[in-house]
């Protein structure tokens, strides 16, 4: 019955892409935080959270994502989300996450967003 969230990470330069698969509750949120902090400690400047394989993020999971956001902001880094379902997108906006982190439709859009090209 468990829908525990799996988290995988990929590094592209100083950007870490974290992909989730499954329900993000307290355990899923902690799994994401663990991986995110490891990536930040390892020198990542920006985190892209790809949630395209997640359909539910509960408020406990989001509260842990807010902690990750705080840590990224403390380091003057960037946090971007992509692949959100309309419900997750709406929930992030209700909770104000969208004011402090960028939301992009796709992973490629998010990577472009955290790696702005010089004019």
């Amino acid at each position: 019955m468990s829908e525990s969230c799996k988290v995988s990470a990929e590094r592209r330069g100083d950007v870490a892409i974290l992909r989730t698969d499954g329900y993000i509750n307290n355990q899923g949120g902690e799994e994401i935080a663990r991986e995110a902090y490891a990536q930040l400690e390892g020198g990542a400047r920006a985190l892209v959270l790809n949630l395209e394989k997640t359909r539910i993020v509960n408020s406990i999971g989001i509260s842990i994502l807010i902690e990750v956001l705080e840590k990224v902001m403390d380091r003057k880094g960037m946090l971007a989300f992509c692949g959100l379902t309309p419900t997750i997108d709406k929930t992030f906006r209700i909770m104000g996450l969208a004011q402090y982190a960028e939301i992009y439709p796709t992973q490629e859009d998010a990577l472009r967003g955290v790696n702005p090209q010089p004019a």
Binding site: M1, E3, I60, I66, T91, M95
Partner: protein, 149 residues
């Protein structure tokens, strides 16, 4: 779980279930909400909103209600209001109750300066559902929420 049979037009059809207060039982409940939403051809996005609202109602009760029977009692109803069909979910616990007027409005800015980053459940429920009614007292709490197709 008990299921109501075919009801006369205008009357709700309902399904009841009881879940234990245990990790991830809220996901068991969402399967029932999804099945009923699909039955009335509700869009997947609206079903997802009902599912998340239900998850929030369940975990609120799991965390705060201190249910005497260690159970949540859920009823799912399908009905029609004038020309619109709806899915209604009722979540009842026999816990200690709470005063919803005293629940502080959350904000991300408050979360940033506080160790406690929680307390978003009711806000999410109210934002995702079309109608929400909360009744709470010493006998427990009842959250009734409706989503139109």
């Amino acid at each position: 779980m008990s299921q109501g049979g075919s009801a006369p037009p205008g009357l709700a059809r309902e399904v009841s279930m009881t879940i234990p207060v245990a990790p991830e039982m809220e996901i068991v409940a969402t399967a029932q909400a999804a099945a009923l939403g699909e039955y009335i051809a509700m869009t997947r996005d609206k079903i997802d909103e009902v599912k998340l609202a239900l998850v929030e109602a369940c975990i609120n009760a799991f965390e705060h209600a201190e249910c005497r029977d260690e159970q949540l009692h859920l009823t799912f109803r399908l009905g029609r209001d004038e020309s619109r069909e709806w899915l209604e979910v009722e979540v009842m616990d026999k816990g200690k109750g709470f005063n919803s007027a005293q629940v502080e409005e959350p904000s991300i800015e408050k979360s940033f300066v506080s160790h406690r980053k929680r307390g978003w459940g009711l806000q999410i429920i109210k934002s995702l559902m079309d109608e929400v009614e909360i009744t709470s007292g010493v006998g427990g709490t009842r959250i009734l929420m409706r989503k139109y197709k």
